[in-house]
């Protein structure tokens, strides 16, 4: 074996289209999981906050189970176990979106709940004192204020989701990581390919992260005024 490795990125560029397709699929899974996860998270949060035990307890169960078990175990369960249980065909994509929708919803639910709870009691009281029904107070007074506060935590969770979806490569969904492995095996250049992929992930996620932090600062500057 040679003492020093000679880096050669040419094979990577040659397969750039495969990697690009992989990146697109990564974004697809992330996007779909977000699209389902966010509304589901809101529903879970409202159920969790409901005074009715019949709504609150199932929500607590879902949230706790999906926050306390490893995502990979959840993915395996949805991909290998569920199809047998309910007699449906399961593709990696469907299993992934199903898993990560619920998993991210469990975390989003806590973000939503934190935001709602952070709105001062006085706002609730003012709405109720006007004769609003609880649902009206939530919709017109509390949620609009809560959402603004939750946006940073919420976006950070979304970025976490982008990182978590790499797990789909393990169930052979053709995301960026899976394609990386394929290209690495094809070109016998795992060092270059994996390094490039790591850099791609870094650039995408770092950019998203920076945008979120910028947004956070912007909101803190103007939002503080609003919160008074």
């Amino acid at each position: 074996m040679t003492a020093v490795h000679v880096w050669n990125f040419a094979p990577v560029w040659a397969n750039a289209d495969l990697l690009a397709q992989g990146l697109a699929n990564t974004l697809k899974v992330t996007g779909a999981s977000l699209a389902f996860g966010v509304p589901l998270g809101l529903v879970l949060a409202l159920m969790r906050l409901s005074p009715q035990r019949l709504l609150a307890w199932p929500a607590v169960a879902v949230i706790e189970v999906f926050r306390t078990t490893p995502p990979l175990v959840q993915l395996f369960w949805f991909f290998f176990a569920l199809p047998i249980l309910i007699h449906v065909e399961m593709t990696p994509y469907v299993a992934a979106v199903l898993t990560f929708s619920i998993q991210s919803a469990a975390f989003f639910a806590e973000v939503f709940r934190g935001g709602i709870v952070s709105v001062e009691r006085g706002q609730w009281e003012a709405g109720r004192a006007l004769g609003m029904a609880p649902r009206q107070v939530m919709r017109r007074v509390v949620l609009p204020q809560a959402v603004k506060r939750m946006i940073p935590a919420f976006l950070e969770r979304a970025i976490e989701l982008m990182k978590t979806t790499t797990l789909v490569a393990i169930v052979s969904y053709a995301d960026l990581l899976f394609e990386t492995n394929e290209v690495a095996q094809k070109t016998f250049r795992p060092l270059e390919v994996f390094t490039v992929t790591a850099l791609i992930y870094f650039v995408v996620i770092f950019a998203a992260s920076t945008l979120v932090h910028g947004l956070e600062r912007h909101l803190a500057a103007s939002g503080e005024g609003m919160a008074r």
Partner: protein
Amino acid sequence: MGAHYQWNFAPVLENLDVLWAGAIGTLHLFVICIALGFGFGLVVGLGRHARTRWVYLPATAFVEFFRNTPVLVQILWFYYALPILLPFEISPLMAATLGISLNSAAFSAEIYRGGITSIDRGQAEAARALGMTPAQAMRRIVLPQALRRMLPALTNRGIEIFKMTTLASAVAYVELLQQGKLLASLNFNPIETYTVIAVVFFLCLFPLVQATYALERRLNRSDA
């Protein structure tokens, strides 16, 4: 809908020794990654706090890189890519340890930094005014107070690390999920096997999660 599924946990329960081997592997990996992750994280966290550029910039670069790349990518890089640069083999354990530890170090570095900066400047000043060196001030005055504040975030990170150990199955390290995969493929019972795995993780982590909530509540009360 076809015939109702008959749950049968017998094959799983008969192979508890297989799962136990996995559990040992999980704990092994977990302990190593906690120690390395929190330990190195402290070094990097203090480095982020340093005034000299030669310490601050590399520390920041480290944190930014390892926080903004997925752990699985890191593990696979260490397993497939690193051996090419080095003259020796990287075992699954080493790859998983490197990936998870460095990732955790980056996250815990930020926790340390946040905890340290949250302690009033006046504390460090009072310590210096007494004649302590910066290192003594940090060690005896600032860090002990900061650690209390950081405890909830650190326990959360610990829980995340525990969950991350399952990623080591991607490089066939013998941990709980890996053994689950083995059993499921041998006995053709993914439902029972993966359900048991999920339950085991839940039972291990749930008390820790609840303890974290209680810790947070207690700290909120006493801090106010």
